[in-house]
């Protein structure tokens, strides 16, 4: 989720909060107007894009200097609640209504907003909340370990405290977190290191873990507990922090030094209301999927079995090789929306357009700039490479943005991507799934709207996998399993649309194939386009669908070779059993009809058996 969309949402919530008193149609119109204003006041950026803004998300400012005030929508309608008075004393003047409304208008904290709209972050119901909490903590731990170049060792503990109350604890061997940052990271929404970098990582927005902590606080009143240690020379510290939803600020309830056996690492504990489920959306299923896409991670899961008892499942690592560290990149000119482009013009330290373009974007060199300004001159724009970025009018900026879109620019660099790799995918699947046949395909990087991405697919077939059920598709975005909204995801769409029957894999029209098979599809990208803020489904970009299809086709072709061999072997078996079963009856019938002697009959049977065994055709 981007800054801009959060601003939007906040304002919509503001309109919503205002109108919680009963209101009539005219007030509803006022609400619409207020919301429309809020949307207008927001920057015109695309909601899926982080942009290159360097502003702190905690202190949102309007992107255009001298723009509208950002504190609440401009009032235009009547104040709700004033209706009775107004109708008694005749129509009130718009002025007085605006005054009345202004009295009620106030800023809504982002934390407060999410407290009311928990479904936006994946806390719709108790079962999902439990899984989302585990997921956010695991994502953070893996990201932290990888960034520090440490092979991750994770411990996930789930303890059932009461019928519907659980404690989730996730512990890692990562670099730990310095004392001053702990409260902000875990108890302040939109605080993080990843949002402002164009770099492939699991988390993005700095919402996840603090939202989980907030959910726990809301449902159980218990603060979040963090233990962290940054090295053998410092002591571990234990914190209990709650989030102050009004101010979106951490409220430290306890801080102490403790003895901890880990040299470095972090442990997070959240107590929350939840439901423990088995099956597709279960935590074990989730961790299994995590281990398939993260073969370098060691994950131990302590799961509740009965009251007070737990069982340990260890997903040990398949590889001692850390994934290649993805490079941070600058945005590609073709991937930048107009609104973001405008913000970048305002915020750049560059003195002129030439250095702005060359410094802020990837793949822009002298030649690209020269060609671009040739086109600018042709279009009759009064812009030169020397123009100061801040002085470009919004009309000119729009025209420039359009010309950039038409310019020939090299595809973005792809060293920002870190795929899992074919060998590791196969090894991980072999470790987790008992099948007869495994294969994996890592596609070369491709680009959608200026964003590099890379698709990987893997397939496990046969063996102990259930044969007559619809297949399971493990969907991943940057190695994070996607658990919900299966039907809305581009990965599911690509799987369903592939004609699996061409590869001897049964499939009903418009459905997943029904075969003893598991599919794995991972999309690696600096910016994975999700269909919603809860990051559950990949959006349907044609370039992404094409790449997924190509990867699946290659997997399918390889599977078909395997299956054909299998069919031939089964045919051979059937042939032998048919020959043994039925040829004697041909002998008996011919003996009956022709009155053959037993020897003559046996001779015929032997001759026919020989002929059919030597024939290759069924």
């Amino acid at each position: 989720m981007s800054l801009t969309s959060i601003q939007n949402k906040t304002r919509r919530a503001a309109a919503h909060v205002q109108l919680e008193v009963p209101f009539g149609p005219r007030e509803a119109a006022a609400a619409d107007a207020a919301e429309a204003t809020a949307v207008l006041a927001a920057p015109r950026g695309h909601v899926d894009r982080p942009g290159g803004s360097e502003r702190s998300p905690a202190a949102p400012r309007s992107p255009r200097s001298g723009g509208r005030p950002t504190t609440g929508p401009t009032p235009r309608g009547r104040a709700p609640g004033s209706r009775k008075a107004a109708s008694a004393a005749g129509p009130a003047s718009p002025e007085s209504i605006a005054q009345a409304m202004a009295g009620r208008q106030r800023e809504i904290s982002i934390a407060e907003f999410f407290a009311k709209n928990r479904h936006l972050l994946g806390f719709d119901n108790p079962a999902k909340a439990l899984l989302t909490t585990v997921k956010e903590a695991v994502d953070n731990s893996l990201d932290a370990c990888e960034e520090a170049g440490i092979l991750p060792e994770l411990l996930v503990e789930l303890t059932q405290l009461a019928e519907d109350r659980f404690r989730v604890a996730v512990e890692d061997n990562g670099p730990g977190i310095v004392r001053a940052q702990v409260p902000k990271i875990f108890a302040k929404l939109l605080y993080g290191s990843k949002f402002h970098s164009m770099k492939q990582s699991r988390g993005q927005q700095g919402i996840g873990i603090s939202a989980a902590g907030m959910y726990g606080l809301l449902t159980t009143g218990k603060p979040l507990t963090v233990i962290s240690r940054t090295g053998s020379r410092t002591k571990a510290r234990r914190f209990q922090v709650a989030i102050n939803t009004k101010q979106n600020a951490p409220d430290i309830q306890l801080e102490e030094e403790i003895e901890w056996e880990r040299e470095h690492g972090t442990r997070v504990e959240i107590t929350l209301q939840g439901t423990y489920k088995k099956g597709r959306h279960s935590i074990d299923g989730y961790l299994l999927q995590v281990s398939v896409a993260n073969p370098h991670a060691q994950i131990t899961y302590a799961a509740p079995v009965q009251e007070g008892e737990s069982e340990r499942i260890v997903y040990d690592r398949t590889s001692d090789r850390l994934p290649k560290e993805p490079k941070e990149i600058r945005p590609h000119p073709h991937g930048v929306e107009l609104g973001v482009f405008l913000k970048m013009l305002q915020g750049t330290p560059a003195r002129n357009l030439q250095s702005f373009l060359q410094q802020e974007f990837s793949r822009v060199g002298k030649k690209v700039v020269d060609d671009l300004f040739a086109a600018v001159r042709q279009a009759g724009l009064a812009l030169t490479p020397r123009t100061r970025p801040r002085s470009v009018s919004s009309e000119d900026a729009e025209a420039l943005h359009r010309l950039i879109g038409q310019a020939k620019i090299m595809a973005p660099p792809t060293d920002c991507l870190s795929p899992i790799g074919e060998d590791l995918l196969i090894a991980a699947l072999q470790k987790r799934v008992r099948a007869d046949f495994y294969t994996a395909v890592t596609r070369p990087p491709a680009v959608y709207r200026g964003n590099p991405f890379q698709i990987e697919a893997a397939l496990a077939y046969g063996g102990e996998l259930p044969g007559d059920e619809l297949i399971e598709v493990y969907r991943y975005a940057n190695r994070v399993p996607l658990q919900y909204q299966r039907g809305a995801c581009a990965i599911t769409k690509a799987v369903v649309e592939l004609p699996w029957r061409n590869y001897k894999i049964p499939q009903s029209r418009g459905a997943l194939p029904a075969a003893p098979m598991i599919l794995v599809v991972n999309i690696a990208s600096v910016w994975v386009p999700f269909t919603s803020e809860s990051k559950e489904a990949v959006a349907h970009y044609p370039e992404i669908l094409t790449e997924i299809r190509r990867a699946l086709q290659e997997c399918g072709r390889r599977a078909a070779l395997h299956i054909n061999r299998h069919i031939r072997a089964a045919d051979e078996h059937k042939k032998r059993s048919y020959i043994q079963k039925y040829i004697p009856h041909i002998g008996i019938a011919l003996q009956e009809i022709l009155g053959l002697t037993d020897q003559a009959r046996d001779k015929t049977v032997a001759a026919l058996t020989d002929t059919l065994e030597r024939s290759r055709k069924m």
């Binding site: 042939k575 079963k581 009809i593 001759a607």
Partner: protein, 384 residues
Amino acid sequence: MPTKGDSSARIKEIRRNNERLDGQTVGLIKSTADDINKRILRRGKPELKLPVRSLANVTYSTDKGFFELGRQKKLRTLTVNTVKTFAQTLRLMGLSKALVETRDFATKRDAYYQSKNWGDAMFHEQDESDAVMDDIEALFSTHSISREQLRFIPDEHGGAVAGDLIVYDPDIETGEIERIDCTRFGSGAYSIPSLVEHLSFETKAKFILAIETGGMFQRLQSHKFWKKANCILVSMSGVPTRSTRRFIRRLSEQARIPVYAFVDCDPYGISNIYRTLKVGSGNAAHINQFFCAPAARFLGVTPQDIKDYKLPTHPLKEVDVKRARDALKNDPFFREHRSWAKALEMLVKMGVRAEQQALAKWGLNYVIDEYLPAKLKDPKQFLP
């Protein structure tokens, strides 16, 4: 009545005839099996050439006057995949040979249960054995041997027969030939058995009257119309069964007498009952050569009769009109005969149908006293 000497000569001839027929059947079973055996011993893959039974391979033969199968054949080669069906086909042929030799017979259901002694080659559903039997029937039909000659009989028996007819019927147990006089059933009638291949006939009748309804048959039989008109009455009860059709065919062929059909005047009576009786059906073209009665003519009730006799009518139903239009458009039999096309068109135009029993409007025995005698005066007027 034939003298005793005549009779014994005749019985001998019947015996010889039946033995020759059975010999042909067994001979064909043996030669088919022998071909297969020799092919196997030469290390080849045996083949069966089955006629293609799809409608595309059915033509209407103007000369013969019935639907017949074309020359398309499908080759069934003995491979691993067909070895089971091949074994079952041969075992069923073996059963047929045993049935002929013991002068016994089996229904489709009997044959299915017989296969339960075949171990792995047994049929698990009657559908399977029916399909194999259909293949055998088609195979042997190309050599003019019917399923009945293979001693596989249909479940349903035939219609009733009355009139000046002696039927010679060999007893299955003793081989003695029974002599059945079809005049001597009182108000009852001789019932056509399921298997009629071995019957022989002796008659001086001038024609066979094939009647659609049991009610009309009973009237004509009770009033001994057969005596008056010197004919043989056969009740069909709707579309005639295989054995009724085969009986009529064999009787008309042996006695060289025509068959006059007396059915309701509606598209069902004309295009289903009469057309099936005379030329068979497209769906079972491989058996028409045994079952159709090309000597059949349509006595009535004709559309013209409805006018001439001012018969009470009922309106044609939608399905009737559809059936008639379909016959006019697609059925080669009706397209072949201009007079039939005219009659059907007339019926559709009138939009009514009349049952044969509608004649009772003019008196219960009007059909005996007036209608049939008037019609029979001029058989040339009958529709083809």
